[in-house]
């Protein structure tokens, strides 16, 4: 017998009584979603910045390799998507558009249509995500309602920069992935 049929038949043989699957109700959400989102993001070590602040930051920094998938920041983009993600190992800044954001925890949904290549938000040294104000919802339930189950091979809720606390519980930002996350609310 294959392992599959063995596992399935072991479960079937238990003749378990079916337990009900609950519906997920609506829950109350914050009054000011943008404010709550900014606060949650800060809790995850991310930061909401204005478009002007971001532009000033890029002007003042020495980011050499910048990729933007957003027409809004086209002028800064100085490279194309590579054939292999390893070629983006020296990417300094990526500017991507997010689809939905949840105010209760700062998580922003991006899927393949926003990414170009899946590795971008992780391999870049610094990450910027743009999100429309109307796309901020109260909590994760509303976020999943909005994204539905439209097919994308890959999607992620990104809520902050790469971080770790594995050394004596001291929080360090920039473990493997992006060392900062800035969000511009449009």
């Amino acid at each position: 017998m294959s392992s599959k049929s063995s596992i399935i038949s072991q479960i079937k043989n238990l003749n378990m009584e079916e337990k009900p699957l609950p519906e997920i109700p609506d829950f109350e959400v914050a009054a000011n979603l943008e404010e709550a989102f900014a606060q949650s993001l800060a809790g995850n070590k991310g930061q909401v910045v204005s478009k002007d602040e971001l532009e000033a930051l890029i002007a003042a920094s020495d980011f050499k390799k910048i990729y933007s998938s957003s027409p809004l920041f086209d002028a800064y983009s100085n490279c194309e998507l590579p054939a292999h993600p390893a070629e983006f190992a020296d990417l300094d800044l990526a500017i991507l558009e997010g689809q939905v954001a949840s105010a209760e925890n700062g998580a922003i949904w991006l899927d393949e249509s926003n990414l170009g290549i899946r590795a971008i938000p992780f391999i870049t040294s610094h990450l910027v995500i743009l999100i429309r104000g109307e796309a901020i919802v109260g909590n994760m339930h509303e976020a999943y309602q909005k994204i539905g189950s439209a097919h994308s091979g890959f999607g992620a809720f990104i809520a902050g920069p790469s971080k770790t606390a594995d050394i004596e519980q001291s929080l360090v930002v920039g473990a493997h992935g992006a060392m900062s996350l800035r969000v511009v609310i449009l």
């Binding site: 309602q145 189950s149 809520a159 790469s162 050394i167």
Partner: protein, 452 residues
């Protein structure tokens, strides 16, 4: 395997044991703070528990749904009855790819299956990429906690091992410096690896996808750079619908560390163009646990670690004292199901205070199951399994005179013991507990005097 013996070894280094206890308690307190910001917390726990209960009651159906939908998405689905078969499947894929080095993100299941030694015996280099996991891998130790694998180590230990392995500055204990040294080291591994292995936090039957949650982004760095992604999951990791993830993602990180969510929550549904995605569904005793009605609930566990952080025994005895892949309260329910004899002391490593059940995001009745196991073990092993305290108590309860005397003696002693003895470092219980006020007389004496 004896928990009391192992715990005694851990408690030899008093200052480290105290630090371990206090650090985990801080994590527990962070959990408390964040859940207070969520008015519907209890409702979420109920929902999570019910969703898991429903899934377990139709697990065969949902597993087949998952396979059907994942296959349609282009994921190659494999089934493994036990750890050996799981390892063989991984080994076969690596052989096909002619792959000699892999990167792996934290996965308790691969730990349970002893995948690393298996692959290493075949000459394959395995690099654990979670920082905590990498540290203990250098030290050839298993994780001592399921969420914070290196929680038993101090900066000094990590500085020493990094100096040896990564040539960091001797004596530099700065966590930022050490983390960035690991970042550089691991980046080169990510860029080289052709195959990446991850665990699975949740698999969704409806969409045929699975979700991996990390704070470091190490799972994503691995899989997006490699050509082949192998994901390994226990069959209990399943949930029915995508929207159920909303419930679990709200609970997981808050329960684990007090964060509102992990920073990276990646949903894998199809392989990237030109790449391969494998999903291994592993039983390894889970159907047996499912058959034990009293312990079925333990399969709801989402591995948040909250029960460990809150457990007065875990905090004071360290993860290694449990001698099992999953330590702490939940491990003490899961492990006896695997080997009752070997793990017979674990269900006794509990005060039965119920704190584990109180914090569990999926409402597993952990302390009740521990009590159930005690009875099973006592039945199976006779009195030999009872701890010394049980025997002592037994002796006292058997003799009415001894019982009366012991009460009198305790009342006198507790009143007169100087604080320095009660809160002595050797008395680990006194450290975080106040002793109750002792009554002037026993209930028996009171009853004698006051009854008409």
């Amino acid at each position: 395997m004896s928990h009391p013996a192992n715990a005694t070894a851990f408690l030899k280094d008093q200052s480290r044991a105290k630090w371990h206890d206090e650090t985990l308690w801080i994590v527990r307190q962070k959990r408390d703070q964040t859940i207070h910001a969520i008015p519907e917390w209890e409702k979420l726990r109920d929902l999570a528990s019910q969703i898991k209960e429903h899934t377990l009651s139709k697990l065969d159906f949902y597993l087949e749904e998952l396979e059907k939908n994942a296959s349609a998405n282009g994921i190659k689905v494999h089934w493994a009855e036990n750890a050996e078969e799981h390892n063989e499947i991984v080994g076969r894929i690596l052989e096909e790819k002619n792959c000699k080095a892999i990167v792996k993100s934290k996965s308790i299941l691969t730990e349970e299956c002893h995948l690393n030694p298996y692959l290493e015996s075949k000459g394959i280099e395995v690099v654990d990429t979670d920082l905590g996991e990498r540290i203990i891998q250098f030290l050839k130790q298993p994780p001592s906690h399921i969420v914070m694998p290196a929680i038993h180590l101090k900066k000094r230990d990590i500085s020493d091992i990094f100096h040896e392995k990564l040539h960091t500055e001797k004596g530099n204990e700065d966590p930022v410096y050490l983390t960035h040294a690991a970042r550089l080291h691991l980046r080169s591994k990510f860029l080289e690896a052709k195959v990446a292995i991850t665990g699975v936090n949740f698999a969704v039957a409806e969409t045929g996808e699975f979700v991996v949650c990390t704070n470091e982004g190490n799972a994503d760095m691995g899989v997006h750079l490699a050509d082949t992604h192998i994901a390994c999951m226990g069959i209990e990791k399943l949930i029915p619908r995508r929207k159920d993830l909303g419930v679990f993602l709200r609970l997981l990180a808050r329960s684990a560390t007090g964060q509102s969510i992990t920073n990276y929550n990646s949903h894998f549904r199809s392989p990237a163009p030109g790449k391969e995605l494998h999903l291994i569904l592993v039983n390894n005793g889970r159907t047996k646990q499912l058959a034990r009605e009293k312990f079925r609930n333990s399969l709801k566990c989402i591995r948040c670690g909250a029960c460990m952080n809150t457990c007065p025994i875990y905090r004071r005895s360290g993860g290694f004292s449990y001698g099992s892949t999953v330590p702490g309260p939940i491990g003490s329910i899961l492990s006896p199901g695997i080997d009752l004899k070997k793990y017979s002391t674990l269900p006794f490593a509990s005060t039965l205070c119920g704190s584990c059940s109180d914090v569990c995001p999926v409402k597993i009745n952990i302390h009740e199951q521990l009590y159930e196991w005690r009875q099973e073990i006592t039945k199976a092993h006779g009195t030999s399994a009872k701890g010394l305290s049980m025997q002592l108590a037994n002796g006292i309860f058997k003799s009415p005179l001894a019982y009366k005397l012991s009460g009198k003696m305790m009342r006198a002693a507790l009143k007169n013991l100087p604080e320095s003895i009660i809160y002595n470092p050797l008395n680990v219980w006194g450290k975080s507990r106040n002793l109750p006020e002792t009554p002037a007389e026993s209930f028996k004496d009171w009853y004698k005097k006051n009854r008409k």
